[in-house]
Symmetry: D2
Subunit: 100 residues, 4 copies
């Protein structure tokens, strides 16, 4: 195998954990549809939306932490332009998260 | 049928629209699982998470707007303690959204 | 005195409390300048920025709660177009808070 | 050269810019007090709070970007435990920003 097949994505080591969390989030999206279908009380639906948003945020923060610890650190250690590129990209992703 | 069976939940008139948006959000949650499964680049996953968070926020703001216009206005017009209760509940839901 | 001179702004009853909180926030802004001036560690500055953002958010949620309980309720009780206008305005302010 | 001359804080190069932005934010905090003092309309006050929150967020994102590009990169290049420490600290600061 060549080096090109080696993935450096930070989250790979916890892939199953992320898949589990995302499946739970998918379940929350289905639960919300059921609540609307059954015409549940708006405030109860909003409470579920807040919980789902927090779960998503938490996945994002986890992925970002692993990205910084793996991809960004790897690029800095390798040096060169890629490090700058990766840092810029990470800052932009952080800005999107903070503003969303 | 008695009047008591008539639901006043604000979003009912746009139920199909909300269901459609929530199904799309469910699809985004599935798309994220596929990205993790296929070991896509972290930053691209984070971009999708931000888009999904924005879509959820937008559903929440829509539901809240209809809740204020229907349930809260209805309670204020009816007067009495229920109005206070509904307003307190709405403020708490808004705080959860702002803080999530 | 005519009725027109009576202010209905919800926060008036707690004006001193809001002024005190805003003065504290102004102090936090000055504290941040001092930290930058003295070249303090970035992470410590960011911690203060988060605290200040939370204090501002809390002022906003308080003002909004009083606005709903006074101005909006007053407009709904008075009926007519003004109520719709006030509700629309409140929803837009909530959206700005949630998205900022 | 003495040790005191070696500053690694990322924002130092733009110190004046940050001070200017923070002074403007301090001015916004004073403007809010004036609005409350003069009993301005709640919604107009909330609009200013949202603007101020955005300005603060923008300062935070700038500081964080420079922190990643200087302190964190420096620590990674130096290697060792300090890099891990700095990355952990940065992730925690990001989480506080996303959640505030």
């Amino acid at each position: 195998m060549t080096e090109a097949t080696t993935s450096h994505h930070g989250y790979i080591g916890h892939k199953d954990d992320y898949l589990k969390r995302l499946r739970r989030i998918e379940g929350q999206a289905r639960g919300l549809q059921k609540m609307v279908e059954e015409e549940k009380y708006c405030i109860d639906i909003l409470t579920q939306v807040s919980a789902m948003t927090k779960a998503l945020q938490s996945v994002a923060l986890g992925l970002l932490d692993e990205h910084l610890n793996h991809c960004v650190v790897g690029a800095v250690e390798a040096g060169g332009e890629e490090a700058d590129e990766k840092l810029k990209e990470a800052s932009q992703a952080i800005a999107r998260l903070v503003r969303s």
